[in-house]
């Protein structure tokens, strides 16, 4: 077998990063120890909303080993800025959204339980914890705004945000949509809640701040999905250190799922405190802090209406959503329920009229931002729950109703009524394959077998679409983004012919070190083992925008393809000179520069060597062989697929068992099928968690009731079945690899599919996520009582 077949694009290469992880040699932030390191413990508001009247650090400072007690007021005095929201959403009337300042440490007002307002720094963690207990803070408790449905019109949380409404946003055509609904033969209506989730990457957030006085340089080691973006925010907005004096390193990072995109108070504080105390300052979140302060996900209330004509074709979809943004606008919090949500309401369907309006509101809860899927699971939940409901109301097979409305494979590029242009797809192909793999035809028999055993069996579908590969920069900036969303890559050929690849993408479980080496070695025709991938360090990688929105391969991988093209182009010039041929006649194939006419060739290694030892070398060409590229995507990518869930419900207890899950996804070309399958498995389990187990719940006082693994139900191995996953392929038309992104699909399709199965099984559509045994049992009980 050729090298490329074993390690190139499309090969199921075992990951090279695994060796360090399975032997305990990973280097996560908490594993790093700096000489002279001291420890930070944060002072956190015990109240959801309170005025901070006075802070007395007296006794805390007397604890042996305590170096400092720093507060939000100290931060203000030092001139540090606020944490920014990176996406300005324009409201219906064209005005900017109402945004309240988000100080890294609260100075006068605390707006959610757990919000940091100070930090204790001490020689040992124990001393810091003990001292934190001794700080006396006077709070004036205020009435918190907790209930999302009542938030607009409750007590005003922030000055300058009347009614607690950050924005009232819309997309699509209201008039035509309402007219089409009025004219529809059938209208399906649904009310949905999308439950608040807490991301729970297994590695808690951590940060170590280091300040070197002799050179006035700062280094921040932290759990980030995007170290360059972190550096940009900390220097340009918070102004804790100038960009050229600040290095941000995100070493091995133990999962992110969105929660490690954002710049948080704690990493800001450790870098600031490091200079103040003159020692490296380390902070590692305890899990309870993660629950309280990692940005949460989802949390919507939605009403939707779907109009259908006599042929069962969708004529209009109207969606009204209230989205909880939490106490502050987190880095991308404003964009998630708007541009990553409303734009996806066409789903896979030809629905000609769509109108979406979203109110984004503040509450006294932890900020809400992107969590795996970010807006797209919420959109899929609306579209796929209402379509399934319509099928039941009309008595049409749910697969058939979808089929009637799918965008046809020859209709691409397809412009939706909600601002996206899908480049390619074959939705019926995914659906058909999923139906076959799930043995849809055999469902009736499985259902009756289950019934004989006292179980109710249900089946549910979700035909999802997502917009990934964020994002064409101009479009994103036009829509309010504060940064471009291109990616950078550098391919540095070493004199010996080995290659070091630098990418602005970041891997925190995705396996870039393997996948990107596959891409570059395949393209250059060199050995996979001769390619090293470097990421996660602003001191080594020039620039980058990081990893989220399933963008790494589609955007970061494309940047590497562009840089590789430049390497090949320069290599051709060098080879032409060495072979005394015209550059136009030099071809590059399987790692060889060749001139067919004269049957001469040079290996990649020979050309690389010549570039660095330029004896026989073109006069007008710079020595060296190292190229950079910034790749800005032309469009989003549009992964899509069909997910089918089957559940069995124990009628006596209400316990829901997910018994089968089939996912057929179209991710375009696939570089490493092993990794892609793994991404789908993980996403589906997270979606199953949302549908059946997980719920971030606050009480009326704004206290998080689900603040540990005792109360917040994470999916465990025995909560999920083996998954059946497969793919169909329509290559992305506008990036060099033809890839679409696979990181979020599992979490996007599965909640709707599972809830469609649960509601099918119990014959009650009004059950909300998570479908816990208690809720299901009550629903079944109510049916019995009705008789």
């Amino acid at each position: 077998m050729s090298e490329a077949a074993v390690t190139g694009i499309g090969a199921p290469v075992r990951r090279r990063e695994d060796l360090r992880f399975i032997t305990g040699q990973g280097r996560y932030t908490d594993d790093l120890t700096q000489p002279g390191q001291v420890y930070a413990v944060f002072l956190r508001s015990p109240y959801a909303r309170a005025r901070i009247a006075a802070i007395d650090p007296g006794e805390a400072l007397a604890v042996e080993g305590v170096l400092a007690v720093l507060t939000g007021n100290d931060m203000v005095a030092d001139g540090l800025g606020d944490l920014p929201c990176g996406w300005m959403v324009k409201q219906k009337d064209g005005s900017d959204m109402a945004s309240a300042p988000h100080p890294p440490l609260a100075a006068s007002l605390a707006n959610y339980a757990g919000e940091p307002y100070g930090v204790v720094v001490a020689e040992t963690l124990q001393a810091a914890k003990q001292a934190a207990e001794l700080v006396i803070t006077d709070f004036d408790e205020l009435d918190p705004v907790v209930d999302l449905s009542m938030a607009v019109g409750s007590d005003q949380i922030h000055e300058g945000v009347p009614g607690n409404r950050a924005y009232d946003w819309e997309i699509g055509e209201r008039e035509s949509t309402e007219a089409a609904l009025a004219a529809a033969v059938h209208v399906t209506r649904i009310d949905l809640t999308n439950n608040r989730l807490i991301p729970n990457a297994m590695e808690p957030r951590a940060a170590v701040g280091v300040y070197e006085a002799p050179t006035d340089e700062f280094t921040l080691y932290t759990t980030s999905q995007n170290p360059h973006l972190e550096r940009l925010v900390l220097s340009a907005f918070v102004q804790v250190a100038p960009e050229h004096k600040l290095r941000v390193v995100a070493p091995d990072v133990g999962g992110g799922f969105g929660s490690k995109i954002f710049v948080y108070p704690e990493e800001t504080a450790v870098i600031w405190a490091a200079k103040k105390v003159g020692r490296p300052v380390k902070w590692v979140a305890e899990r309870s802090e993660s629950f309280l302060t990692d940005a949460h996900g989802r949390d919507h209330i939605t009403h939707a209406e779907l109009g259908i004509d006599a042929d069962g074709c969708f004529t209009a979809l109207k969606v009204q959503t209230t989205a909880n943004l939490g106490a502050y606008l987190s880095l991308f919090g404003s964009s998630v329920p708007t541009y990553l949500y409303g734009t996806l309401m066409a789903g896979q369907y030809r629905t000609p009229n769509i109108y979406v309006e979203v109110q984004g509101v503040y509450t006294n809860t932890t900020p809400v931002d992107a969590y795996r899927g970010a807006g797209r699971p919420e959109a899929t939940y609306v579209v796929e729950r209402i379509v399934e409901t319509a099928a039941r109301e009309l008595g049409i097979d749910p697969a058939e109703l979808r089929r009637r409305n799918l965008i046809a494979p020859d209709a691409f590029p397809y412009e939706t009524p909600v601002a996206l242009v899908y480049d390619t797809g074959d939705y019926e192909a995914s659906l058909n394959k999923a139906l076959e793999l799930a043995d849809y035809a055999g469902f009736a028999e499985r259902k009756s077998t289950a019934a004989a055993a006292g179980k109710r069996r249900g089946i549910g579908f979700a035909c999802y679409i997502e917009a990934c590969g964020l994002a064409p920069s101009k479009l994103a900036i036009q829509l309010g983004a504060g940064v471009g969303l291109y990616e950078s890559g550098e391919v540095r050929v070493n004199p010996t012919g080995s290659v070091t690849v630098f990418t602005g993408s970041h891997s925190h479980g995705q396996g870039h070190e393997t996948t990107f080496a596959q891409v570059v070695s395949d393209r250059l025709g060199i050995a996979y083992d001769d390619v090293e991938v470097v990421h996660g360090d602003t001191g080594r990688v020039e620039f980058g925008l990081g990893t989220y929105g399933s963008r790494s391969l589609a955007v970061g991988g494309s940047a590497l393809m562009c840089a590789t093209d430049k390497i090949i182009a320069k290599g051709k010039l060098i080879a032409a000179h060495m072979l005394q041929a015209d550059a136009e006649t030099v071809e590059f194939e399987d790692g060889q520069f060749l001139v067919r006419d004269s049957n001469q060739s040079l290996s990649f290694g020979e050309v690389a060597f010549a570039a660095y030892v330029p004896a026989d070398y073109p006069e007008d060409l710079e020595p060296g062989l190292s190229e950079k590229a910034f790749y800005d995507p032309e469009n989003f990518t549009y992964p899509a697929g069909a997910h089918i869930a089957e559940v069995e419900i124990d009628a006596a207890t209400g316990v829901v068992e997910l018994v089968n899950f089939t996912a057929v996804d179209d991710f375009g070309h696939i570089v490493n099928p092993l990794i892609v399958d793994g991404q789908v498995h993980g996403g589906v389990a997270q979606g199953a968690g949302q549908a059946l187990l997980e719920h971030g719940i606050y009480d009326d006082f704004g206290q998080l009731q689900t603040g540990s693994y005792m109360d917040y139900c994470m999916p465990r191995a025995d909560d999920v079945p083996d998954f059946v996953v497969d793919t169909t392929v329509t290559p992305c038309t506008h990036n060099p690899l033809g890839v679409k992104g696979c990181g979020e699909a599992g979490a996007i399709g599965s909640p709707a599919a599972i809830m469609n199965a649960v509601t099918d099984a119990i014959g009650d559509n009004n059950i909300s996520m998570p479908a816990t045994a208690e809720k299901v049992w009550r629903a079944l009980r109510a049916q019995q009582e009705k008789g």
Binding site: R14, R15, E17, D18, L19, R20, F21, I22, T23, G24, Q25, G26, R27, Y28, D30, D31, T33, Q126, N200, A201, M202, E203, P204, D252, V253, G254, G255, F257, V284, E286, R287, S288, H508, G509, Q510, G511, L674, I675, D677, G678, H681, G682, G683, V684, A685, Q686, S708, Y709, M710, M714, P715, R716, A717, D718, V720, D722, F723, G746
Partner: protein, 161 residues
Amino acid sequence: MKVTLTVNGLPHELEVPDHALLVDVIRENLRLTGTHVGCDTSQCGACTVQMNGRAVKSCTVLAAQADGSEVVTIEGIGSPESLHPMQEAFRDCHALQCGFCTPGMIMSAIDLVQNSDTLDNRAVREGLEGNICRCTGYHNIVRAVLQAAENMQTAGNEEGR
């Protein structure tokens, strides 16, 4: 207080605070950072090690309780040059992504295999109930454990011969 214990075959005599946890000793005193702390309620299992031949959550064992015991951590079961069959299977089956839960998962899985007569998919899933993974959806972890169980059994039979 003074604690004496053997970790990965090496004897240690350590002076630790009374309230020190076994995981603190492993991570902070011995700098064996493969054992991770993923929660504060003994739920996630990232800190799982073997103590006297059985898997324990080292965040839930006081260093004092480990006095005199034999502890094996992820660093002690195999090396990159000579992997334990469970490590090998995790790699082969792509049973890890971010790698943070992996050491604990491997230590629990070894215990599960060593203390089960027979294992099937369901038994592995129930046996790993005390270890949380957020990345893999468990699918490939279950595959890996079943594959390793077979290999460990074969290796055991060969040793016994």
